[in-house]
């Protein structure tokens, strides 16, 4: 599985950057924006994780020959 490590690093990077943006926006007194940015980052990461899990299930299906 070639994407495995890359995906983890990508998610970590998004987490770090979003955390930094959150901190800066909060410092500048834009807490509402900060929360929106965090929420959007979370949704993006959730989407990526959902894709990976879909792949995982597909693989399991293929391994155990559950072809419909």
């Amino acid at each position: 599985m070639p994407y495995n490590v890359d995906a983890v690093f990508q998610i970590a990077g998004i987490g770090i950057i979003v955390a930094m943006i959150h901190t800066i926006l909060k410092q500048m007194g834009k807490e509402d924006w900060a929360h929106w940015v965090t929420l959007i980052g979370f949704i993006i990461v959730l989407f990526m994780v959902a894709m990976l899990i879909r792949d995982l299930f597909q693989t399991i299906k293929n391994v155990f020959l559950f072809h419909s």
Binding site: Q10, G13, V18, M28, K30
Partner: protein
């Protein structure tokens, strides 16, 4: 390799955008102050001098620097043309030409145009009163712009860099 070049360009662009926005925010109070000095000059010229308005405009355009000088130089040229336009029209044309290049916003424009509609139409005392009023309003706007600068200048710069990095990570 191509990916790396692309991501580098993305980061560079968003950084530039952030710095540009920060510069706009930084320039605004400065240019409002320049406008204020120009008004002071106009006021003293009207109060103590006996020159016609287009000469005062020329004088201000020589004394001031960059964009504010441009506004007064254009209005000097418009007033010189003598095409039958009112003073207000001449200033309006000049402002329309230059305003896009400045960092100034609509509030200052309104104050300026408000003053221009009075210039050269009534007696000395009335014009001076109007200039004083415009200056007071501009001072309030300048204070606000300075607060905005303190708040947003650094934010725009950092957000430009971070936003670029985020986009690169998302698309990589």
């Amino acid at each position: 390799m191509l990916k790396l070049v692309g991501s580098f360009i993305t980061v560079l662009t968003s950084t530039w955008l952030g710095f540009h926005l920060a510069m706009q925010v930084r320039q605004r109070p400065k240019q409002i102050r320049q406008l204020l000095t120009a008004f002071s000059l106009l006021r003293s010229e009207i109060q103590y001098g006996n020159r016609p308005l287009f000469e005062i405009c020329k004088l201000i355009s020589v004394r001031e620097i960059d964009k504010i000088a441009d506004i007064f130089r254009f209005s000097y040229e418009e007033l010189q043309k003598n095409e039958g336009d009112t003073t207000y029209h001449c200033f309006h044309k000049a402002i329309r030409q230059v305003w896009g290049q400045t960092s100034l916003k609509g509030t200052e424009k309104e104050i300026f145009l408000d003053l221009c509609s009075v210039l050269g139409r009534s007696d000395r005392l009335d014009q001076i009163q109007h200039i004083d009023r415009a200056k007071e309003q501009l001072q309030v706007v300048e204070e606000k712009a300075r607060l905005e600068q303190e708040q947003y200048e650094k934010m725009f710069r950092t957000m430009g860099v971070l936003g670029g990095v985020l986009v690169v990570i998302l698309l990589y």
